[in-house]
């Protein structure tokens, strides 16, 4: 039985909805601070004239969009949520976890019409578009439980069409392919995906190393999207690999939009999972140049805390 005191500090779904709507506005109108700083640094350092023009257009547009309250990229993405749910708050969620999922879906449809966002979610076979970004697995909502934590943390992200269309690769290398084999696959993928402007670049290159078929691809995406620029994996060997691959990709000099230049990637992030001894799975995901992520924590007393990064990967 809940005590009256606990009932009085129930977290209302309306509060969650309002917070999530604000997160969508934040990530559609402006780049995350880490990503914006990296964009500006790379613009200053860019050696190619064309490369500078591309990066400057991005900087200028973000300045305009945050002033005007419009999305900075017209492909407003495929909508997704990463929800870290503290076990200490589950009983204080109005309507329970089921209602939370409904709230997140409702917020996605609401911002699609209010901001507005481009309705990108369609039926894969008939191509029917309900024009509200709602459908099976759309928005894509993932939950993770965090023992004892007293908050629910929501991260809103939007995946651009580019990475979903051509910016992602998966393979299983020979178990003895080693570091060089991993570097080769990631660099080869970057070339195929960025050369001649096939998809938008520069971007954050996410690598899922090891795992099983699904874990590997999921980690590649999370590495690209949920970690800030400059972040290094706590595993020292993996952090070293991140630096090596970043140097490899920079040597390609593919540059912004694949037109050549010194900015070929903003960063490289690798996440690892143990794999079956017979395998060495590697997945690559290039998040597009329009990075959209925003995170906030909500507590039972209604307090909202904006977070610089999601705790999804290192909770």
């Amino acid at each position: 039985m809940l005590s009256p005191a606990r009932c009085s500090s129930m977290l209302p779904q309306s509060k969650i909805e309002e917070t999530v709507v604000n997160l969508w506005k934040k990530n559609q109108f402006d780049l995350p601070d880490d990503f914006k700083a990296s964009l500006k640094e790379n613009y200053e350092a860019e050696t190619s004239e064309l490369g500078k023009i591309h990066l400057k257009a991005n900087i200028d547009m973000v300045e305009k969009s945050s002033k005007l309250g419009i999305p900075f990229c017209a492909d407003t993405g495929f909508l997704a949520y990463y929800v870290v749910l503290g076990t200490g708050i589950i009983h204080a969620l109005e309507g329970g976890v089921g209602s939370l999922e409904e709230t997140l879906r409702r917020a996605a449809a609401r911002v699609t019409s209010e901001i507005p966002l481009r309705p990108n979610a369609v039926h894969p076979l008939t191509r029917y578009n309900p024009n509200n970004n709602l459908g099976p697995y759309s928005p894509d909502i993932k939950f993770k439980l965090l023992p004892d934590a007293q908050f629910v943390e929501v991260t809103t992200v939007a995946y651009g069409g580019g990475p979903e269309l051509i910016g992602s690769k998966f393979t299983v290398l020979s178990p003895t392919a080693g570091e060089k084999g991993i570097r080769k696959f990631v660099v080869e993928s970057s070339i195929q995906l960025v050369r001649m402007g096939a998809t938008c670049s520069p971007n954050i290159v996410g690598v899922g190393l090891g795992g099983t078929f699904d874990t590997s691809t999921r980690l590649a995406k999370e590495a690209a999207i949920l970690r800030p620029v400059g972040d290094r994996n706590p595993d020292k060997e993996i952090a070293r690999l991140e630096d090596i691959i970043m140097a490899d990709i920079s040597k390609l000099r593919l540059g912004p939009m694949g037109m050549g230049g010194s900015t070929s990637a903003f960063d490289v992030h690798v996440e690892l999972a143990y794999c079956h001894m017979a395998t060495l799975p590697v997945a690559v995901y290039l998040q597009c140049s329009a990075m959209r992520r925003a995170t906030a924590r909500l507590y039972a007393d209604g307090k909202v805390e904006e977070m610089a990064r999601s705790s999804w990967l290192r909770g």
Partner: protein, 204 residues
Amino acid sequence: MKSHSLTIPLSEESVQDLQAGDFFTLTGKVFTCRPLAYDRLLNSQEGEGLSRELKDLGAHVVFHCGPLVKKEADEWRILGMVPMPSWLAGSERVSKAVQRLDLRIVIGKGSLHELSDFFVKSKCIHAVCAGNFNDYGLKVTKVVGGHWLDLGLPEALWVFEAEDLGPFIVETDTRGSSLYKTTDETFKAEAGSILEELGIKLDR
């Protein structure tokens, strides 16, 4: 790298001075097209009707994009436009549309270098956008029409008027020179040592 400002409708000669790597802006009527709209435009009776309409309007420019649109007081507004890869439309659809509608400029993302001979023959150019995202949506002055909204708002075919829309970068010009072909030669030369170190063989 020269800059040009062009006014639509465009004559056959109007894009001949533009060279791969040049910049330009556009004033006049443009239409958007993604694969589903292309198929209806090129393979149906209603498509024939709309093709005639676009030709009569002098809309000589196709923009491969699904705009971000909003309806305000019964009127459609375009808030933003970013390009779709031109290779997603495919050379067959693009070349058919250029011929049928007398297009002078095809705008998109990436390269259409396999069509460079065709662009020479049809006195048409392929252009790409400056920036990964930009303020093109703010240069739209009026939405002239939204066709085939049943395809979904982004896949519908939108006709709009714009002022100084751009800047765009000429990717393939009417001489068949391609900016991406040139930058790709530089890439092959500059990346040579890292490709060799990792044992990477390029597919082209």
